[in-house]
């Protein structure tokens, strides 16, 4: 009796496992010889280039100081490190032996040529939305890159996350296969924006919180997430930006890499902005329109708060270039808050640039307009204060902020952060400042430092100038 029950259970288990394996196992797609570059239509390749920029492919698939698209960059996840693959058309170490079908399957279904599931660190849960035509163009672009022979490091994942087969289960739960379907109730521009944002640009991959299995929480889309040690702020109604975003300001930001009422793109967004430099205006407008919808109409109260923040920033511009700082270099203290040290630090170390009245992008943002100060944690400010914003490495004009890692002690930095929050935000004080500072210093929270986005020519607009000296 018991033996038959055991046998039945074993049989059932075997059936389940067999069924699972049957579902999971994907066929290998035969290798091909990489087509000649000249066989690809140049217009298609150019289209693919634009798509690759939108998808930010080069950022993940290029190691620091490595060859472009040759992979080897570590993405630190809660499960360990995943290394990007070589997507140059090298036949042995890259995708040179991949047919277009194999490429499309990877994009649409998250499975490589050999039939193995891919880690969703490669955001195929977004790229699945791409149309066949766009996949074709991307394929043409990648297959016409310089083949680079390089073996990328193996992933460094703890058990059981290092078992790819389990990803089939993940895909079953969280992958909704594309391609994108138009919403007929929305405009063409909105649909284009939705297609780009939810597809290639994969914005919510950073800007949405993730569950314990590393998937985006469907109920909290664009409610804020993180990327490489940086907080990616909420882009829905919970956006902490003091001045609410709209389609126009979003477009400006995406086009230029900075926006007068919000600041300069830094951290991983700086790299995104570098890529968006080549994107068509129409596509950026579409993205901005779609995202404006996600952000939603600001309430009258938020609008008023935004106007007040702008007024504070403009006042500093109009009055003395010493701004709110007294002659002893101290900023105004916040009533009811005994943070004289923070006020002194702000006045002597920060206000020189951040209240100079020098306009963006090269002047420091007036902190009444700062999103991070309104944000859920102090991480991004800590990152920027410690490492600064390094100059763009390609020689383009770019905002430069020095780093203060050596200058500030942990205690001083904490005092400064508390002061900034108390002075420029009405929200409750952050409770975890000391820990966040410690984590950044020790590397417990690894932070990838990004150089500034290279901004084109300095603003030629006559109104965008600093106060005279």
């Amino acid at each position: 009796m018991i033996a038959r029950t055991i046998a039945a259970c074993l049989f059932a288990a075997a059936v389940i496992v067999a069924a699972y394996l049957a579902l999971v196992r994907q066929p290998t797609i035969d290798p091909i010889t990489a087509p000649e570059h000249a066989s690809f239509d140049p217009a298609l390749v150019r289209h693919g280039e634009k798509l690759a920029a939108l998808g930010n492919c080069n950022v993940c698939h290029t190691a620091p100081a490595g060859k472009i698209f040759a992979g080897g960059r570590a993405l630190i996840t809660p499960f360990g490190a995943v290394y990007s693959t070589n997507i140059t058309p090298d036949p042995e170490t890259g995708i040179g032996a991949w047919s277009e079908t194999a490429f499309r399957r990877a994009m649409r279904e998250g499975v490589d040529r050999a039939g193995r599931q891919l880690y969703p660190a490669f955001p195929y849960d977004h790229f699945t939305l791409l149309t066949d035509e766009d996949d074709k163009a991307l394929y043409a672009y990648l297959m016409t890159r310089e083949p680079v022979r390089t073996v990328t490091p193996a992933n460094d994942l703890a058990f059981p996350y290092n078992m790819r087969l389990l990803l089939a289960g993940w895909q079953l739960l969280f992958l909704q296969r594309g391609p994108y379907h138009r919403d007929p109730g929305q405009s063409e521009q909105w649909n284009r924006g939705a297609y780009l944002v939810e597809g290639l640009a994969h914005c919510s991959a950073c800007h949405t919180p993730r569950n314990a299995l590393g998937a985006e929480k469907t109920g909290e889309r664009f409610a804020g997430g993180e990327s490489e040690g940086w907080t990616a702020y909420a882009l829905n109604a919970r956006s902490p930006a003091p001045v609410p975003w709209d389609a126009d300001s979003l477009y400006d930001y995406l086009r230029n890499g900075w926006q007068a009422a919000h600041g300069v793109a830094r951290g991983p967004m700086a790299a995104v902005m570098d890529n968006l430099g080549s994107t068509d205006d129409a596509d950026l407008r579409a993205i901005a329109t779609y995202m404006a919808g996600i952000l939603g109409e600001p309430t009258p109260q938020r609008r008023r708060q935004g106007d007040a923040a702008l007024a504070k920033a403009r006042d500093a511009d109009r009055t003395s270039t010493t701004g709110s700082i007294d002659t002893m270099g101290q900023g105004p203290t916040v009533p009811g808050n005994d943070n004289e040290l923070g006020a002194k630090l702000y006045g002597s170390a920060c206000a020189g640039c951040h209240e100079s009245g020098r306009p963006l992008p090269f002047g420091g943002l007036h902190l009444a307009l700062s999103t991070p100060i309104e944000g859920p944690n102090a991480r991004n400010i800590i990152n920027v204060v410690l490492a600064g914003i390094p100059a763009a490495p390609g020689g383009e004009p770019s905002p430069v902020m020095p780093g203060f890692a050596g200058a500030f002690s942990d205690q001083q930095l904490s005092a400064l952060l508390a002061y900034l929050r108390a002075r420029f935000s009405d929200k409750p004080q952050w409770t975890d400042i000391a820990k966040e500072v410690r984590d950044a210093r020790t590397g417990a929270r690894p932070v990838i430092s990004y150089p500034s986005h290279g901004i084109g020519a300095a603003p030629a607009d006559v109104s965008e100038r600093m106060s005279p000296w």
Binding site: N58, I68, G395, P459, V462, P468
Partner: protein
């Protein structure tokens, strides 16, 4: 009406507005190896001895034997303090370490004009060399007299004259004031090149130890008892007028001693430096200006230059026999304004006491600056002493002279106190005179055998030399309540030239014509930047030679050799190519190689540069991977100093070429700091830079400090074209431009 004439040679003055003037200058004489233009008869003293013919203007010997060498040139970081002492040490036969050098000081040294044009070793070095040799001869003669020996039986060594029998008289014992106050002779018994021990030796630079151990080395390091600090407030744009100013708040700020206003000249003086900085900011905020400047549209700069009124001169015109052209090619090249971008913003100190003014400045020309400052203050020139103290690298006419004038004006307001004026970074960037924007057009035909048949070259440029001069050349001079008029711009005369420096290609063409379109209207403040027009002219000529070589199906190096006659030029070209490994074909994918050559001013040093570049087509990013150069500077004085200058010139030129352009809007300069005017950082530095020196013992010294700027630029452009197929003719060769020129 303003006189419109261009001096083409000392013998001809020609007049005519906009008329095309032809100059038949004598090429062989101009290319004379002496490195000096022959002057009228009677002025045959070598080098700067012409300007100061007495030996004791250059060499003084104390009774204790201490020897001081004087030069009217200044140390800019090019190592001449060391090189000049090497020259003196060898010709005087004294230990190098025993010498002292005094650099330009209007109270103590000869007037050698400006330290510029890579002439220091050529002019001052030559003078010192001859003066030292003649001093040694005089000392030997005196020793011969006292020892009753024949001068030929005497040797000099280690600062003494020694007889065959071992009797020894030190220079200190032999010397007298009258002895050295002797007029130099036109010729000297210079040491045989084979006997030189210090010239050409690897002598370490005398100034580096202080610089790496925190010794006082710069004008910025000057400290005087009771010294005051000062800051100027500059207007927001050229020609702005101060409409209102409320100084009350500023005067009450801690440490402020005085607020100075003289017309549009504004400054604040204080006890402590940082208090002064804060007071400056407050003063700037309290000032309200009416702005009048109208700057050109930045992206239309080239077409503007072509439309401005010009004085047109053919500086070279030589027609060969007519021949059928196989093919004709043409190209236009453009260059933006470039900033000196001195790392240390300009600084000066001044003290006004008993109607006399002393100024410490890093100006390249203390005598001319003294003249201008004297005029500014209404003092006689003798009432102003201008002493050179090193600044950071200036690379030409930067803010130094203006900072000196600022200090002078301020010092007069606080007599009896020494005042130190430090310019801010933004002020140095916005107010320095830039290297002018230029346009060049080249056209040439090839004959059936792939050689150049005829050559047509034209250059449009502002003046490259607006140094003081008069007080009107100074910012302070134009700012005060009774301003001095801005002097009319002038073109540097040939053969050195300003905008036309190196416009005449060194190659031998059967027919060639070179036209200078001098543009007197200067919408943006301009003056001399290292190599003047040579950077652009060599960039254009050498890029075009490459384009021609490609059209002729010839190797770029062989093509150049085919058109060169000067043997030293050919040697430099061959050396650079060989050391680079030019004939080896293998280059990694995305890499290219480029070559360029020029003889600076066609009469100074020869320099060839080969560069390997890497271009990433996906981003348009170009990098110089390695550079190999060869240089012939005649008799080499300090080999490492020479290598250092060429290395540095190559890297600086790479920065200019890939990144740099001054930016401005309709009214104001907007490139005011390193974020808005980025220059090369370590990530873009090549893997290696090699410099090979072809030493020519016995040959005259040839200036080399500016020889690499043009060749490096063209070599890089040629390498980028080779790597990517993108031929770019508009400087800078930005990432954006390269990307746009490449097929995906």
């Amino acid at each position: 009406m303003r006189k419109n004439y261009i001096v083409l040679s000392r013998r001809r003055v020609l007049a005519g507005t906009g008329a095309l003037v032809v100059n038949f200058c004598s090429m062989p004489r101009l290319l004379a190896q002496e490195g000096q233009q022959s002057q009228a008869a009677g002025r045959q003293l070598p080098g700067s001895l012409k300007a100061a013919p007495f030996l004791d203007s250059w060499i003084r010997i104390g009774a204790d034997g201490r020897i001081t060498v004087f030069t009217g040139k200044v140390e800019l970081g090019q190592g001449i303090k060391t090189a000049l002492l090497q020259i003196a040490a060898d010709e005087l036969d004294v230990p190098f370490a025993s010498l002292n050098l005094v650099t330009a000081d209007t109270a103590r040294t000869a007037n050698e004009g400006f330290t510029s044009g890579s002439r220091s070793v050529q002019d001052s070095g030559t003078a010192i060399r001859h003066a030292a040799a003649q001093v040694r001869a005089l000392l030997k003669a005196e020793a011969a007299r006292r020892l009753a020996s024949a001068p030929e039986s005497l040797q000099t060594e280690n600062g003494a004259v020694v007889a065959d029998d071992g009797r020894r008289l030190s220079y200190g014992e032999l010397v007298s004031e009258e002895m050295l106050h002797a007029r130099a002779k036109p010729t000297s018994a210079l040491k045989d090149p084979a006997a030189l021990k210090v010239i050409g030796a690897a002598v370490e630079r005398v100034d580096i130890p202080a610089k790496v151990t925190g010794g006082a080395a710069y004008v910025h390091d000057l400290r005087f008892p009771g010294m005051l600090h000062a800051r100027v407030v500059r207007p927001p744009s050229y020609g702005a007028q101060l409409r209102s100013l409320d100084t009350g708040g500023v005067e009450r700020m801690p440490g402020v001693i005085k607020v100075i206003r003289n017309g549009n000249f504004l400054a604040v003086v204080g006890e402590r430096e940082y208090q002064c900085v804060k007071a400056m900011r407050a003063l700037a905020a309290a000032a309200h200006w009416e702005e009048n400047a109208q700057l050109p549209r930045q992206h239309e700069l080239a077409s503007l230059l072509l439309r401005l009124p010009s004085h047109d001169t053919a500086i070279f015109d030589q027609r060969g026999p007519g021949q059928a052209a196989h093919k004709t090619f043409a190209a236009t090249y453009t260059r933006p304004y470039l900033a000196h971008g001195s790392i240390g913003p300009s600084c000066a100190a001044a003290r006004f006491e008993d109607d006399a003014l002393t100024v410490w400045s890093h100006s390249q020309g203390v005598y001319p600056d003294r003249q201008a400052i004297a005029q500014l203050l209404g003092l006689p020139p003798e009432g102003v002493r201008c002493i050179h103290v090193e600044g950071s690298g200036c690379y030409g006419h930067n803010g130094a002279d203006d900072a000196a004038a600022d200090a002078a004006l301020i010092a007069r307001e606080v007599p009896g106190r020494t005042v130190r004026v430090q310019w801010m970074r933004e002020q140095e960037h916005a107010w320095e005179p830039y290297g002018p924007a230029m346009v060049t057009k080249v056209a040439a035909s090839l004959d059936g055998s792939g050689k150049v048949l005829d050559w047509d070259y034209a250059v449009w440029s502002n003046s490259h030399g607006e140094r003081p001069g008069g007080a009107g050349a100074l910012i302070a001079g134009r700012s005060i309540a009774q301003p001095f008029p801005t002097p009319a711009p002038r073109a540097n005369p040939q053969p050195e030239g300003g905008g036309v420096r190196n416009a005449i290609a060194i190659y031998k063409f059967p027919s060639a014509r070179v036209v200078h379109h001098f543009l007197p209207d200067m919408p943006v403040r301009v003056s001399a930047l290292r190599s003047l027009g040579a950077y652009m002219n060599v960039f254009s000529i050498e890029s075009f030679m490459d384009e021609l070589a490609q059209a002729a199906g010839r190797d770029p190096v062989e093509f150049r050799l085919d058109h060169l006659e000067d043997e030293r030029a050919k040697a430099v070209v061959k050396t650079a190519a060989e050391r680079f490994g030019w004939s080896q074909q293998h280059l990694a994918r995305g890499h290219g190689r480029g070559f360029a050559f020029a003889r600076y001013k066609n009469l100074a040093a020869y320099c060839a540069v080969a560069i390997e570049s890497e271009v990433t087509p996906e981003t348009g990013r170009a990098r110089a991977v390695r550079a190999v150069a060869a240089v012939d500077a005649g008799q080499v004085v300090n080999p490492d100093g020479l290598v250092n200058q060429i290395e540095g010139g190559i890297i600086q030129s790479i920065s200019w070429t890939l990144y740099e352009q001054v930016s401005f809007d309709a009214q104001r300069i907007t490139s005011i700091d390193w974020s808005t005017y980025p220059i090369l950082r370590f990530n873009a530095v090549p893997d290696s830079v090699e410099v090979h020196v072809l030493n020519r013992p016995g040959q005259p010294f040839l200036g080399a400090g500016e020889a690499a700027q043009g060749p490096a630029a063209a070599a890089l452009a040629n390498a980028i074209a080779h790597a990517s197929g993108a031929r770019l003719r508009d400087l800078p060769l930005t990432r954006e431009r390269i990307k746009a020129a490449i097929a995906v």
